[in-house]
Symmetry: D2
Subunit: 409 residues, 4 copies
């Protein structure tokens, strides 16, 4: 009999996504997963691309969909995958991002320091595994790359995983940056397994190149777009100032969960020793942050209130971006103007003037490579397999330097 739980989710990208089984259905309905509905995939990117409001929830469902497609393709090529492994791989990708905090990457290392979102994902999976009586054990093994069939982990996390295929397509779709569209369909059809590792068949090479280029473009056009950077740095500074004030004993309006993290600096060790911290962390999402930021617009601390007004009214930093470091002199000149104009101490002015850098490499050959499987059975790293495009060049880390300061200086 067909289960009542055979729910269908409407995805504007893939059409109808059918949930593969009851366990997946129940996981999706769990509060820990539902929370992802309140965490935007791309932080504050919507301040530049107003459509980019999609959430980690939608991305996780999409990546799950691609995983079911990929598993089906591999099975049709006689790769042995048991029903249990299939379901575990699906669950692993579904939960891979469950540990993300408010505004995803934008506030990572701001609310809690020294803890990567993947650490929290792992903790939450263990938590869910208890709630589901051990049914997630294999999924967790695959997530942690402890299952002998390496290719299952590689579908979850590698340089050509279902995570990346989904987010490039999804982020393109919702931002409207059409160059980021990736033919996930085509790439998935070309997947295969060789010696236990995920590989791409030879005729898929142009699609893989196209995927790497699309990813690179999305980095500079969207993820590290200078106005997006400017907005996210502003929000980071708001939280930093709020925490600074809180730690100094100032009482700030905040939801109880946010309050806890403002008043304390918790370490990874704390998360392990005090399980209630994780309970509090999963109460946090985008709503706690923005509701508080709006209230702080009227806080008496001029630094905090100014930063908050700026973010709410989208009065972002002016940002300059270049290929080499800004000179200390240049920064100092600006900083002095700001101190004078806004009557700030040097320390306070650091919230308004700062120089940093970002970097990205489209392909990282030091990580697990993307291997191309030739007709003769030979495996070649995509960086070497391309006849013309120097993908080796794409593995070079590109660093860009930026300086932020108030507009209209």
């Amino acid at each position: 009999m067909v289960s009542n739980k055979r729910k269908i989710i409407n995805d504007p990208i893939y059409g109808f996504v059918t949930l593969p089984d009851d366990l997946v259905h129940d996981l999706i309905n769990h509060p820990i997963f539902q929370r992802l509905r309140r965490i935007k995939q791309l932080g504050l990117t919507n301040l530049v691309y107003p459509g980019a409001l999609h959430t980690r929830f939608h991305h996780a469902i999409g990546a799950m969909y691609l995983m079911t497609e990929a598993l089906q393709v591999l099975k049709s090529k006689d790769i042995k995958i048991t029903e249990e492994e299939s379901r575990a791989a699906i669950i692993a990708i579904l939960l891979h991002d469950v540990g993300h905090g408010p505004f995803s990457h934008a506030l990572e290392h701001t609310i809690v320091k020294g803890i990567h979102h993947e650490d929290i994902s792992a903790m939450l999976m263990d938590e869910l595994n208890k709630a589901f009586k051990g049914k997630l054990s294999l999924a967790i093994k695959i997530f942690k790359n402890e299952h002998p069939k390496k290719f299952l982990h590689q579908l979850v996390s590698s340089q050509l995983d279902m995570d990346r295929l989904d987010y490039l397509n999804r982020d393109s779709f919702f931002t409207g940056v059409s160059e980021g569209v990736v033919s996930s369909d085509r790439i998935i059809k070309m997947l295969n397994v060789k010696e236990g590792n995920l590989v791409v068949e030879a005729k898929g090479i142009y699609s893989v190149e196209s995927f790497l280029i699309a990813r690179r473009l999305m980095y500079w056009q969207v993820y590290l777009h200078k106005t997006v950077l400017s907005a996210e740095k502003l929000l980071v500074n708001v939280l930093k100032r709020a925490k600074e004030l809180s730690l100094a004993g100032e009482d700030l309006f905040a939801t109880p969960a946010l309050s806890l993290f403002l008043k304390n600096n918790f370490s990874k060790k704390d998360f392990i020793s005090k399980p209630e911290l994780l309970q509090q962390f999963v109460l946090l999402d985008d709503y706690d942050i923005m509701a508080s930021v709006k209230v702080w617009m009227n806080h008496k601390d001029i630094v905090l209130s100014t930063l908050c007004k700026n973010i709410i009214d989208r009065n972002l930093y002016k940002i300059e971006l270049q290929n080499k470091n800004f000179t200390p002199t240049y920064k100092n000149q600006i900083q002095e103007k700001v101190m004078k104009k806004y009557k700030l101490t040097k320390k306070e002015s650091e919230y308004f003037v700062f120089a940093e850098s970002v970097n990205n490499s489209a392909y990282n050959s030091s990580k697990v490579q993307i291997n191309i499987l030739h007709k003769n059975g030979q495996l070649i790293d995509v960086a070497k397999a391309s006849d013309q495009l120097n993908i080796k060049m794409l593995s070079k880390k590109v660093t860009k330097y930026f300086i932020c300061y108030p507009k209209g200086l």
Copy 2:
């Protein structure tokens, strides 16, 4: 010289949208307009269609884009529209929804009673007109249908306005319900003006029919989808209970602005007499609501905390929908079960069991009609012009009755 303000906004639906002039640019940057970034177009619809997170901000920009297209088409047909009128019509559509409160229609009449969002839009336009030194006067006239060229108002608000063309396309796009797609391009090309009124040229009739059917489908498939109804009623009940408790003197966590509206029942008169109320109202958006709801999950009032948990964990009411009223006996039986099971008073149980109705008509011939312009110059109401499709039928109001109660009763 080209202004710096010639900003381009990326819209995944229309591609690049160029802002027509500096005034529009400055209006969009005003905090009153920026606030629309934090108000979802479709309330809680994302609980059913996870992509439906788009905001009033994006919709307003889209409607503005369609307005510029429509004006261009009319001008190319020698309809006289001055530059000033053109700009005013653009501003009127841009601001038509500026008075929406948190979660758009979902919470209308909950946070403030007896005040329609269009009343607040009008107040805010007056406010902005002061800030912009009277430059919006003509736009306001068009919005209020006080300008002699009626067709300009009809482009802003009628049964075939740029508002509807945009929201049908936008809501289709973000929900993924492809049947809602409307050929706005084609309809706009067929617009004309006859005796001062907006009309559609004869060969556009199939597109108009298609538009009416698409709209009807979106009503029942999306806007009044039963699970969406269930979710929105849940949120309404949360706010009702929170207000009930607040008015009774209970202290609830809330942002200051939300607190003000929980502790008081303001009337339209109050808004007129106390201008500071409007200031407080525009501080409210989706974030105030959801951040508070999350905190209320732990409130000691069992009704409030249960409702809040249910919405946050997406544990919605079971909902039955039918074409005739539910009998009082049916409702009473359920209500008694609920009272017993959850140990609630009758009054409390009304938050968990209730029967209501919704209605819609796809076309309303009692309002300003959609007129079809025949080649011989004759105008015919679309309800009569259709050779086959009985559009008169579409003007019949359809009422559906629903009853909500806790799942797993």
Copy 3:
């Protein structure tokens, strides 16, 4: 082992279409099927919508794809369909249009009279069944509705079959008439079988309505678009004149196969008694016609050469379309002008001036109905199930009358 024949076909509408098995692969590669590559789906519609060059080949592949989707959905709902039936249904839809002649419907009943393309499809299926040693027998039974599981035939041919779902989507896509897009995905998910017949589950009703409206729109906007009518009538007249001249002993340039059909009036009986006629018929496609028409531009018969020049240079008839018949007087007046201006006999002038009619009904309740399956198990004809839209109205046959005559008269 995976067969070499597991070919993938790229479809811009559905993405990758995988051929389900070797028999299908071999059928597609048969010359009788490959011929469909040279027969445009929409005749001369490309003279109005320049993208509409897609072929019967592509449509057949698309309909096959939708059939595999539909069968999968029905199986997931525990409808019993054997592997053999599944394959037969797929083959039946693949071959349903194999008997179409040059320019599909446009020249039907012109090259051969009194034989419907479905008769020829049936003959060709028998032919193929011999070549494939009886492997198509069940497919043929399903095609002819002789298999007890009626729903399989209904998937091939009914008012909501995979044929219509595909052609509406495909014709929309290639013409760019976006209102014709049908959510085939959604409709297919809602299919079910009740008492051996294909039905649509209750919540699919809006999609079915939307499908009927889309179909109606495509009729008037594309299939019976007045300029398309004008072009196709022109081509019909070219062939009629060429045949008239040929039968009168005039020697016309033509490919041998076309020559045979110009010089003879074959009946259905002839096709049955002389199997070589079918062999000659399948040699015909769009290329024979247009290559000859181009040569006939220089033929000494002024009627033929003028008609041919007109079609090649897209100098189409002026066409008037209205809801009632044109009076004989009106036609006569025009005809006389034409006779005079072009120095034609009355009989010749009939090639340039003529009045006819076309008709269409979006839904035909006298045929097998589209039944909606309600939750209580009840079946209701869609024409009655709709709460508001009077689908009964859609079953009314709409007739439009047109008159054609030379431009610039």
Copy 4:
């Protein structure tokens, strides 16, 4: 008053395309331009991608549309372009491909040798200029790069022209190869003019890269796809054999125009000295070829009839593709097998076994470069401007070698 000629053409890619003026309208309606409706843009590519049936007609209209967009963008940046130049640039792009023969590139240099399609385009433009009384003179100057504003020619023909932008998008759309989609919208918004030359503003660099990569992908995935090559070589050999036989006095079925070119080897000089040749050439299109090929399937010459059957039944050559030349030994071995199996002379066997090469470079820095305009006003060749992607690599010519021989050898 608005002209009757303000026709709108439906393009599934760009939506509605409005013809800019009456001259353009009349040019499009001229038989020389209408002929492009019968010449497929991508030759026999539809044998691999069944949707690729679009024509030179549709491409020319699309390129014209992009040209109007580009001119509008440049004007909005205060680049001086007169109305006359604007119209001339539009006409130049509209007519740039008017000289293409049957199956576009596939049969270039087969039907007439030593004459590039651009030569014929130029002759036909002169022809049209006479018919239109000199109104095309400026357009012709722009086409030939004889107008001082070089950027206008560069919009028509350069490494980033409207031709390429359109064909990449159009070929992607109709083949369904989504990686070829180019954000023409975005690139066009970034165009500018510096020192009389077309340049791209700095922030468009990622889009330009993306465009170059898309173009490269389309080359190997579509234009030089090995099955496409195989099909086109087959058609070339059919024509070669037909011409060989015709020149030897054999009488072959053909339309009169095709017959003329089969029986004679015309040179460029002949085209200049005998104007009637051009008249005959423009009578040729895809239909002449395929109609004849079908008849030749029954020709007594076994080489010709076999090749023709193979193309009509899509029984293509087996093709091997590699990065280095095939050894003569390898070819000879195959050739001997073929001679033996099919009882062919060595010369005849060359029609069935042959080795050739194709090459492509995505970017050619020896031609007019694509220049990136930096904020400081500096111009940098895109090959050097890219921070990471080695576009210099893309300028390397890539050669691939292939060998063709009958399947099932």
